[in-house]
């Protein structure tokens, strides 16, 4: 699929606003007969890492850009304003008890296939057919159903099952009370259940469409949701075309068609934007801001998002087994210099692995380890570190500014006597591989809802990646993770969270936070569209006229 992106009609602010305001009042045939809405083209680095649109499989930053146009959750995070949870496909919810949450579904919501959304669809979306509850990992392999000798079917692939288990670790069942009421019942108390439901894995999809699909793979490439756009064409590794769904419950979308085009090179994305072939260009590095801003017709929007960049430690490395060495790492990082030199000061240095929207759970007096080379040297002397090499498995450009950040880090570490050796890798599995000796690596952690369980326990607790791949574990931290997950006393949870930060960032470092991530999108200046505090992109009417 080519890059064209030229709107089918001239796209001016006034006509856009007019169309947006008039759209709800127009009968459908009027929209169909004289559709003056623009076609919007978005140049992205990658559309989907897994070549599917099923969020249980596509758990990536790049996948976040598209799913929100296709499907919706019951409760959603307000990434554009105050980061609170707000009604989406559920209009209201109430706690029955600490284990049970009852939600009232929105009326008149239709799927892209015309079916009206019911409680059965919600039960399906969180049920065994989609999430694979009860399956063994051997049974959950039908992504590869076309391998000779294996059956085809709609059972999910193993990693979808793994993601579901990690996201909803204690979900027991979803009860259908009536066509508009559902109850989520947990095996254990969970104060963060509303937040978990707001995660993209909880998007509500059509049961009928799932049952009609010939295979899981077919379905996952054309999921039928309730979002303002439906999948018109998905060409893996090339393009994704979404068409306006005029029966959308929130009103007909202001855009006739969204075209996500895969343009891997940054320079090519910028050229597509500047030449008028694309209206948006994603994943802009900070050093391109000035160049784009010189164009009167374009601008760069966005800023910090709910994601922190980290350096992660492998505790099983002979040198890193000593927490004093890891602590030395944390004190030998000049975070402010990285932020100033590579991000133009746009990326804040946060208060450790916590986010401002944690509200009452936030420890405002917590901070990342201070930059103190002398303290780092003292810790290394105390640890008896003799300069043995410590590998740093590195990707060239998965994260924006990844390579220059690594170079700054390594020089800082060398200055205090840490012999860190960069080893370039091609992809994350090679970075995480148990073959050879791991040392330090890059990572980022997102908070998908406003509670520490969304990040600290999810990423570093017993079900988290570090623990699961044998990189780091701490028994006290593991016990506290359970307290944080299941605790119902806010004061106790807050104290527990504090202790977990002390363990994972000071006493027995699992990681150290570098800075908050920044997501920059270049766009046409005349398009009144706001970037959220997330990778999610919203092309509904509410986010179109600013």
């Amino acid at each position: 699929m080519p890059i064209t992106g030229a709107p089918e009609v001239a796209f001016r602010r006034r006509s856009l606003l007019g169309a947006a305001l008039a759209a709800p009042a127009l009968p459908r045939f009027a929209i169909a007969q004289a559709d003056s809405r623009p076609v919007v083209t978005i140049a992205v680095q990658k559309i989907s890492n897994t070549n599917t649109l099923e969020t249980l499989r596509e758990q990536s930053n790049v996948g976040s850009r598209t799913w929100f146009s296709i499907a919706e959750t019951l409760i959603e995070q307000d990434w554009w304003d105050d980061l609170t949870l707000r009604p989406a496909l559920a209009t209201a919810w109430r706690r029955i008890d600490e284990r049970t949450l009852e939600l009232t579904l929105r009326e008149g919501v239709r799927f892209h296939d015309g079916h009206v959304m019911t409680a059965e669809d919600v039960a399906f979306s969180f049920g065994p057919e989609r999430m694979g509850w009860g399956l063994t990992l051997d049974q959950a392999r039908n992504l590869f159903g076309s391998v000779p000798g294996q059956s085809r079917g709609r059972t999910p692939p193993p990693e979808a099952l793994a993601v579901a288990r990690r996201t909803y670790p204690a979900l027991e069942r979803v009860e259908v009370i009536d066509s508009r009421t559902v109850r989520f019942v947990n095996r254990t108390p969970d104060l963060a259940m509303e937040g978990r439901i707001s995660r993209n894995t909880g998007m509500i999809l059509s049961r009928a469409a799932f049952e009609a699909a010939p295979s899981w793979l077919d379905w996952s490439r054309r999921p039928i949701g309730t979002g303002p756009f439906r999948v018109a064409e998905f060409r893996p590794d090339q393009s994704l075309v979404l068409e306006a769904f005029d029966d959308y419950w929130g009103g007909a979308p202001p855009v006739k068609r969204l075209r996500f085009l895969e343009v891997p090179e940054v320079a090519s994305r910028i050229n597509a934007l500047l030449s008028g072939e694309a209206d948006f260009a994603c994943d802009m590095p900070p050093d391109q801001i000035d160049g784009i801003a010189r164009s009167a017709r374009h601008e760069v929007v966005g800023g910090p998002i709910m994601n922190h960049r980290l350096t992660v430690f492998d505790k099983t490395h002979p040198q890193l087994a000593n927490p004093l060495v890891r602590r030395a790492f944390t004190h030998a990082i000049d975070r402010e210099a990285i932020v100033a030199a590579l991000w133009g000061g746009r990326a804040p240095v946060p208060r450790g692995l916590q986010f401002d929207f944690y509200g009452s759970m936030l420890h405002a007096d917590w901070a990342v380890p201070r930059f103190d080379p002398n303290e780092a040297k003292r810790l290394l002397r105390q640890a008896g570190y003799k300069g043995d090499p410590i590998p740093y498995r590195l990707l060239a450009g998965y994260y924006t500014n990844q390579l220059p950040t690594a170079q700054v880090l390594v020089e800082g570490w060398r200055a205090v006597g840490l012999n860190v050796v960069i080893e370039m890798r091609e992809n994350f599995p090679q970075v995480l591989s148990r073959e050879g000796q791991r040392g330090v690596r890059d990572w980022s952690n997102s908070a998908s809802f406003n509670d520490p369980v969304s990040s600290l326990t999810a990423q570093h607790g017993p079900d988290g990646q570090q623990w699961q791949i044998g990189e780091w574990r701490n028994e006290e931290f593991g016990r506290l993770s359970q307290v944080l997950e299941q605790g119902t006393d806010p004061a106790q949870r807050r104290t527990t969270f504090r202790r977990m930060l002390e363990i994972a960032e000071r006493e027995d470092p699992a990681y150290t936070v570098l800075h908050q991530s920044v997501n920059l999108t270049a766009k046409r200046r005349d398009l009144r569209w706001r970037a959220g505090q997330s990778f999610v992109m919203d092309f509904r009417r509410r986010n179109w006229a600013g």
Partner: protein, 309 residues
Amino acid sequence: MLRFLATRLLRAAVTVVLVVTFAFVVLRLSGDPAQIIMGADAPPEAVEAFRRAWGLDDPIWMQYLRYFGAIIGGDLGRSMRDGRDAIALVAERIPATLALTIPALLIKLCIGIPAGITAALHRNSPIDRAVMVLAVAGFTVPSFVLGLLLVLVFAVQLGWLPSGGQESWRHAVLPILTLGIGGAAVLARFTRSAMLEVLGQPYIRTASAKGVPWRAVVWGHALPNAAIPTVTIIGFMVGSLIAGAVVVESVFSWPGVGRLLVVAVANRDLAVVQCVLLLVAGTMVTANLVVDLLYGALDPRLRSQARGA
């Protein structure tokens, strides 16, 4: 002649086997497809299940024998990313690549050969220097730099042509030019060198001394003899029709075989990578075979050597 052909065919078959074997070993030793395709978050049991499903848990020699046996049986395997036939995935990308590389080859031939001949016939003149300056510039600028420069001028500044994608013939212009300019420069250099060498030969001097018109000397004696090294280069260019646009396809977001190869290598989608490499090796070997046969047609001495042997 038959023996000549048989020797070349045998050599071609050995080359293809070596390429396939090398690719098989390197790809399997440089990354685990199961871990890459399943993702970093996949639990170890899931990765194991994937390995079992695809036979990746077998010893590498067993995988190799199975793979090789399948190739002989005409089965090039399936993509591990979506289960489709690798050959079907590759085949659907070939037209897009050929849509760039064939016109680019014509540009190379139409510009490179006349430019090289002209430069040789005007040796040390301003024309020669001008042609060589352009040729050196053409083949020393990397294709991704040239591509971006062309985009900046013709797409961003002038707005005449699209900067990337594959929707109409206009989208193909800049990638074709990018591929064509570099190749034409290489061909111009080789043609000039070959012509200069031939023009210095005694038989050219003899023909001129006998009063043969200069035009007839060039057409009848110089060009056929200079064609041999030039045909070798053209053979390489024809051989790279399938996979000679990897960088250009990335710069211009052109969904051809090159981009498929990049994505497949990054994901260790073994069957697809091997299918592309097999195709590339096959094309290159065939082109070389044709060049070898052309040598015989162009140079009677080689024909007589082959007969003598």
